[in-house]
Symmetry: D2
Subunit: 290 residues, 4 copies
């Protein structure tokens, strides 16, 4: 049967963009203090859903560093569906970032929700994150782009791949090409999982663009029991890395506890990923994986 | 295996909110210079997708005013998927709002994309709009809420009704209860229409909340030929109003031309809606409909 | 913005079909003992989800006939998700159809699940129904087509409009053009309603085909409180009729009780629909509506 | 307002079923002439979309056998969206199955579309397949169940995991527990791929049931370039096997040419899968993989 090809127009629009892949050796590899992100490498970002306290931050950071992660997930703000649930540590948490830089060798990435906090966050974090809710917030995309920091751009849960890439284009169009695309699950009728991990977005994005592609196995599953399988599937599908929620005591987490894995599970997973990355010929940014 | 049960938690969360409907005579009716928006009334907002020029603005405004509309759609900014397509008139367009206030008796509503322009827009517009892409932009929701202007909140194309109502709650939680909910189509597998108009969101939202509910028949269909049917269905389903894209020459529109109806179609539709509203016992804010 | 038009290929495939609309006066109107189904008419089919007993069948039939319905929904088999739930009356129920024909003037429509029962059912029923689960059961489509009875074809909950029309084409391709298309809700992420009523399928199908189009407001909503709004929206959107689940005591229904309306609600709804059909210039097959 | 809570009821319904997993060592392993299908093994089924000719059948069968496949995909009937496209070889093709049994050592699996052909197909094939369009065809499920052959049950493109398992229960309820579940992509808004491969269905189904779970990387992607990534992701996610469309000359295929991989690609993929299965501790039913 002839397959419907609905994205002819989409692909035509992508022709004119900077995100479009021209040929196979044109991959963007981001290098941050010898941590490489992009084709041929496999990089794990890990940390709790939200930085709830100094103690949680330091303890978790040291634990994931020991397990081989090189980048720490630092979320100071939690965009929450309800105004009456935990909203995160807030901008004061920048002091936690300073502390984490002092106490560990981890790179730090953090979510930017609003231009109001951009200077403070960009002053301390190594990588900025645009969450899925803000993928279409074009003013914010241009503002973070201008910091010239590497940007993790999470796919909106209802964005097509074309829309995802055109959102990235907002960042590249202001002169910043250090964009890391993050697939984190799309919204479908299936609700056994929190979202449906669109695993084929990984090889599809690798076909369409030169940018690094990572996967969030935590938000896409919503269930800690499925995180290891999602992580291995992402690596096997060609992802350049993962962003994993890890919490020393998931059931006491202020948010997203059901999808965070504990430290023993994380250690075991890192070992398994290291072996598989090795088999697949991926170099690794992390000691355990190299 | 703990299974996620989305609705139970949702309904529990809604229990504690200000948007929740307690009993049937608790409807919020917004009154702006004798234009009423809410249960028992039917109010039409109309105008071009974007204000492209002074001439277009004035001519279209006078035409829709003659046809019975009382509120004019004034979009100065167009959030566009691609950074390389028409982005709208920009903040200078506030002078167009002044002009429209001088030349017509229409109320003016306009989209707010960023807190940067909030003061300028709130200084002139009668109603502020949060577009579907920004439904989850909680910082912006709180900021527009504080202006104390009536706010049209458009449903994100992948938001459940619960998420839609909790986004409204961000506005109510800062003390502004003049929120108008706008159903504008959700994203599904069906692509004959641009989105799938979730017509049952109208009676469902009327069950769940006391807030006014309107429908955007233009973005939900993406096809001008379907706009009249969508408009009548919305009224029959219990909507309190419509936001319709009207353009004197749709094919020359800079954006969304395929979904804008022309003036003769709009005039005919207003007449049909007036008769149906009359049959349904709806009072109208507009001369033609009363 | 230029709208993506993904169904160009689809429309090309439809060019060659018998279901394709050529011009606006080519409507198929089915005439069964002076009950007309098609453009310009509005016909209500009503009855319980399943015929549970002779008493239920007769009582409900007489009540809906009094209220103005001309066709009775007779489901002898219930295709159920689980093999351990009520599966329906079974083929013995053909004697109920005989009884209903004796005791009322209603036309009878019934669902065909398998070719095994086709002769028995076609021998007594006036209209055959293909349920949404069997829309893709092409062998069954051809078999029912050959009976030359009018066929109600329900849209599969994940079928595009193109797929829906091509399924109808299986029936027309064996020489039977008495196909009634029934929109009954599609599967989306939204789960406040059982399905999402794709109301715009009604005018869209009327653009694309000459066949009658009706709506099932019961399965599409899954909630009796929303059935009246869904019914009126369907009529306003241009539907040629409705198939409504009615039960004298919905809470005691063996199946789908949550979505069945009771008799007083049905009577009130029929009155409201009659007035609206009148306003819209629709003739009616039913006394109350005429 | 009573809210539908789909999963709670679902899980309650699954409690009473035979498909429900009780504990971790209760896995169903199907053994067919020393080809094992189930937990701990990895089995590849391969073949063209449809058996177009004797020559195609024999040549492709020998080639995939050489590459290590042990089961051959034999589709004599193609359920097609349009009645005017190629509908398959037809029931005469049973002679092709005989020939394939004579000329190769492959096990043969074939799709059953209707009870009319069941005896003829079950007389020659080793495994019967229920396609996704027939997952809800409960009469057919019970009929194939009674043959006591192993049954590959493909997930309907809009079925939840619960509905998928309850469809399997129709087969187990007639006494046949040799059911192989096949994830083949679900229908979502994303249309870069033909369907969205729900990769997390694999570990989720392994949690919920004792049945073997395989993946169809061809229909889920619709693009041959993505098939290798989808196959590896499936293995990494815990799948017990794959069903892959292979064609010696995909561009000349009568159907599904865009998603079929050619023989060199298949050979390379089998080698890669073998190494990964080895690393993951999976035994294999196929020489190359062992």
């Amino acid at each position: 049967m002839k397959v419907v090809v609905p994205n002819k127009l989409a692909m035509k629009r992508l022709q004119e963009t900077k995100v479009k892949r021209i040929n196979s050796d044109q991959n963007t590899i981001i290098d941050l203090n010898d941590v490489h992100i992009g084709e041929g490498f496999f990089t794990v970002i890990a940390g709790p859903c939200a930085l709830e306290s100094e103690e949680l931050a330091i303890n978790t950071a040291k634990a994931v560093e020991n397990a081989g992660a090189k980048i720490f997930r630092c979320s100071l703000f939690k965009p929450r569906t309800s105004p009456y649930t935990y909203q995160g540590y807030g901008i004061d948490g920048v002091k936690l970032l300073k502390l984490l830089h002092d106490e560990t060798n981890l790179l730090l990435e953090t979510e930017v929700l609003s231009t109001d906090h951009l200077d403070a966050l960009a002053g301390e974090a190594d990588i900025l994150r645009i969450g899925s809710r803000n993928m279409d917030n074009y003013e914010l995309l241009k503002a973070v782009g201008k910091t010239n920091k590497p940007i993790i751009l999470k796919r909106n849960m209802s964005a097509t791949l074309e829309e995802f890439l055109l959102a990235a284009e907002y960042i590249l169009s202001v002169g910043n090409d250090k964009v890391i695309l993050c697939e984190r699950g799309i919204r479908t009728f299936e609700n056994y999982t929190r979202n449906t991990l669109d695993i084929l977005a990984v090889p599809a994005l690798k076909e369409l663009t030169h940018l690094p592609v990572i996967v969030d196995p935590s938000h896409s599953t919503g269930k800690s029991s499925l995180v290891p399988a999602a992580s291995k599937a992402a690596l096997a599908a060609g992802a350049d890395g993962l962003m994993i929620e890890v919490h020393p005591d998931p059931l006491r987490s202020y948010s997203d506890g059901e999808q965070s894995i504990d430290l023993p599970t994380f250690n075991k997973l890192m070992k398994d990923l290291s072996e598989m990355a090795n088999l697949l010929g991926k170099k690794s940014s992390t000691p355990v994986l190299s």
